[in-house]
């Protein structure tokens, strides 16, 4: 591993944060397709804020792979396609790991495949006009995998507000996930092509490729060749490995940009989905999922179908090697615990982690000992200790004055909290202005 920082200075945000010194070793290699699930449970809502699309299939109906099964209900909602060929068995409401209710469509595998095993089609998208591309993106139900927002919508927003910087964010700011970095190394052509599509539609003023400061020189060389061939001007910018560098405000701070709104972040995974939708006519029915953590025998990145139960993926990675203390969907700092192994993969599931007790280092909650660590690590420069105290006293308005609304729920404060106080949970609930649990 060479330091790209020798070429360009690695940037980092200015205050707080948690360094990520030790990464769990990961053996890179080709990414394998996960087995098709026998039953796919397709969640219609990826995130709490998403608007639920309307199912267009009925129970007992036979569906083809990639067939539209739920249609966008307008703003904030996206089309959903069947990840597998089969028969619709149930349409019912379920509780997601994120703690919100969503309807889910259960499809059991049957029939023949249309996408898998076939050579992908190759459209020359450069002949398409913007409206055509926008239509495809909307039609294929592509979402930004980091936030779950429909990509068609956020692209349209950017078109309306020009003068922004498109950032391809391949940053992995936790000790586990390596998906975006791996994709960058394995499929740079498709990522840069996806970027070209996004750039064609939104006309950014600059394009940055945000990479880890310790990216290998070979990957950088390869990227530079691909970039040169793409006729796009993309600057590779290394960033320091410090959580939460991948958040938009910390990114803007590191780049000395006053308004984070002028940054438009897209991950390689999203760009690949975009590329495949436009070039290969493929809906968002697959997701690259990092399966790892201390309790997983062989951590790997799998290309999984949406709706596949995480238990299947874990089994495909050799199953558990130790006793898992917590199963986490998403990152270890900002993810959500899975109640069981039947939780299914969604378009925003970027990682499934089975963490051992040694990794979680959970301890009984105690009273605050005023160590001040939470102040030191808060990337927004807030005083989490004071905000928590105000919230506990029911003084929400004062907590907002103290900066509650600036909190990005990154989890740094709760990560370092010596008394294991659930600071982020409290802030999350308070930000949503709900009754306290």
């Amino acid at each position: 591993m060479d330091r790209v920082g020798c070429m360009i200075r690695a940037r980092g945000f200015k205050r707080g944060g948690v360094p990520v010194p030790h990464r769990v070793p990961f053996k890179s290699g080709p990414i394998e397709n996960a087995f098709l699930p026998k039953n796919a449970v397709v969640m219609l809502k990826d995130t709490r804020d998403a608007v639920e699309p309307l199912p267009v299939v009925y129970v007992g109906q036979e569906v083809r792979e990639s067939q539209l099964i739920a249609k966008s209900a307008g703003r904030g909602s996206s089309n959903v396609h069947s990840p597998i060929p089969g028969i619709v068995r149930r349409i019912e409401s379920t509780r997601t790991p994120g703690g919100f209710e969503s309807r889910a469509i259960l499809i059991s595998l049957e029939g023949s495949f249309s996408v898998l095993g076939k050579r992908p089609e190759r459209y020359l998208w450069k002949s398409l006009n913007k409206a055509d591309i926008a239509h495809i993106v909307q039609e294929k139900g592509i979402v930004r995998i980091s936030t779950g927002e429909p990509l068609a919508e956020i692209l349209a927003e950017r078109v309306a507000r020009p003068g922004f910087i498109l950032v391809i964010s391949a940053l992995e700011m936790d000790p586990y996930r390596r998906t975006e970095e791996e994709l960058l190394a394995i499929r740079p052509e498709d990522i840069i092509d996806g970027c070209a599509i996004a750039a064609r539609m939104t006309l950014p003023s600059r394009i940055l490729l945000a990479v880890d400061e310790q990216i290998s020189a070979a990957t950088v060389d390869r990227l530079q060749t691909v970039i040169a061939a793409s006729e796009l001007e993309i600057a590779i910018q290394p960033f320091k490995r410090r959580f939460p560098q991948d958040l938009i405000r910390q990114m803007a701070e590191a780049l000395d940009i006053a308004d984070p709104g002028t940054l438009f972040l897209l991950e390689p995974g999203t760009l690949i989905a975009l590329h495949e939708a436009v070039v290969a006519n493929k809906p968002h029915i697959e997701q690259y999922v990092y399966v790892g953590g201390g309790a997983i025998k062989h951590p790997a990145i799998l290309k999984a179908r949406i709706g596949a139960p995480i238990g299947d993926l874990i089994e495909e990675c050799g199953g558990f090697s130790g006793h898992p203390d917590t199963i986490v969907i998403g990152g270890p700092l900002r993810g959500r615990a899975a109640a069981d192994l039947d939780v299914s993969v969604t378009r925003t599931t970027r990682a499934v982690l089975a963490l051992t007790a040694e990794e979680t280092k959970s301890a009984p909650e105690r009273g605050c000992v005023r160590c001040g660590d939470c102040l030191a690590v808060c990337p927004e420069g807030l005083d989490p200790h004071a905000i928590f105290k105000l919230l506990r006293a029911g003084r929400r308005a004062e907590a907002v004055v103290a900066g509650l609304d600036r909190c990005s729920l990154c989890g740094s404060c709760a990560y370092v909290c010596r008394s294991r106080i659930p600071l982020v949970q409290k802030f999350d609930v308070a930000k949503r202005n709900e009754e306290l649990l």
Binding site: T326, G335, G372
Partner: protein
């Protein structure tokens, strides 16, 4: 596939830093171990008894507190730490009911009565120490010479600090020489080490280290148990700061302000004049080092934030100097920390106002 997950209802983040408040307290207690061992070695069974009684009392008091609060809190390590800290401020040979009662007071009244760990507004250990000084002022200052110096147990003597304050020698000799001139006991180890240092290093530089400083550093002088191993205190401070378990700004600013004030104004000892105070002597006596790293930097009773920590530490340093220079007792550092414990909310509020005012100016 059957789920074996046990931890379901927790929220993010799911990984944590290795530091926990309990671990911090236990590590802090462990760093006190060398002091316990060394003081037991130089004072013998009288020191062992004080440590033992304080420890036992802390365990019993915490067990009672656990019963009262209906939650088991012995595991958080704070009780044991409090017991050790209280014992560290006591002279060996003190009647054993004093550490027992003081520790119980510290844990049951100062800590538990205010809601247990984290809710106490005053450092429990210091509360217990203040309680002891107030109740048994004479016994708390009955110091004895270490067995290693006198050869026998229980030879009472006053601390170098008190003794030097009582001296009315001329202003021309340094405090250590004044002590020697008054036949203050000196250990063989010190005369050997000082002789060696003077022969090997200082003579070449044209300087001379007076006898007695080594005694201060390795505790071969009458004093409290915690004072007996300055080297161990310094080693402990390195561990605590290195592991980022205490706020380093507090002891740093405290010692800095204290040292500067001592240098400038002196502490009223022989041989000191304006700008020639004996910093080395001041820092190695009166338990100031111990108080700086183990008491002032106690997280619960100290303020949060950098500016607050600096202000707090500096104020303790200044108060310690005032108590040392003009107060009647050299142990004033205990009270300096206690006074500032009480001032913490005031400090936090004032700096908040200052930063808010500055923020407004910047916006405008």
């Amino acid at each position: 596939m059957k789920s074996t997950v046990t931890n379901l209802n927790s929220g993010p983040p799911y990984i944590h830093d290795w530091r926990t408040s309990a671990r911090a307290a236990w590590i802090c207690s462990l760093t006190l171990l060398p002091i316990v061992v060394w003081s037991s070695f130089i004072y013998g069974h009288t020191a062992v008894a004080v440590w033992g009684v304080a420890l036992a009392s802390s365990l019993i008091a915490e067990a009672i507190a656990s019963g009262l609060l209906r939650r088991w809190t012995l595991g958080d390590g704070s009780a044991v730490l409090t017991g050790l800290l209280v014992a560290a401020t006591m002279p060996p040979g003190i009647p054993l009911y004093i550490p027992a009662v003081s520790v119980a007071f510290a844990i049951l009244i100062v800590k538990t009565a205010f809601g247990g760990l984290g809710a106490n507004w005053m450092n429990p250990a210091l509360g217990g120490v203040a309680f002891a000084y107030a109740n048994w002022p004479v016994a708390m200052r009955e110091y004895v010479l270490p067995r290693l110096v006198s050869g026998v147990d229980g030879v009472s003597a006053s601390t170098p600090l008190l003794f030097a304050k009582g001296l009315t020698g001329g202003l021309d000799i340094r405090v250590m020489d004044a002590l020697r001139g008054s036949a203050y006991p000196l250990s063989d180890i010190d005369s050997m080490l000082t002789g060696l240092m003077n022969d090997q290093f200082f003579s070449r530089l044209g300087a001379r280290l007076p006898d007695g400083y080594f005694d201060l550093v390795i505790g071969l002088k009458p004093g409290t148990l915690g004072e007996s191993a300055l080297l161990a205190v310094l080693a402990g401070s390195v561990v605590l700061i290195g592991l980022r378990l205490i706020k380093p700004l507090i002891p740093m600013s405290m010692l800095f302000v204290f040292a500067v004030l001592v240098r400038v104004f002196g502490t009223g000892l022989p041989g000191e004049a304006f700008l020639t105070g004996d910093v080395l002597f001041a820092l190695s006596g009166g338990g100031i080092m111990f108080a700086a790293f183990y008491m002032a930097s106690d997280p619960v009773s100290s303020p949060l934030g950098r500016l607050n920590s600096i202000v707090y530490g500096a104020a303790i340093g200044a108060l310690s100097f005032i108590f040392r220079r003009w107060g009647s007792y050299s142990e004033g550092v205990t009270y300096a920390v206690l006074v500032m414990n009480v001032m913490v909310p005031f400090i936090e509020k004032s700096t908040l106002m200052v930063t808010r005012a500055r923020g407004k100016v910047r916006v405008a």
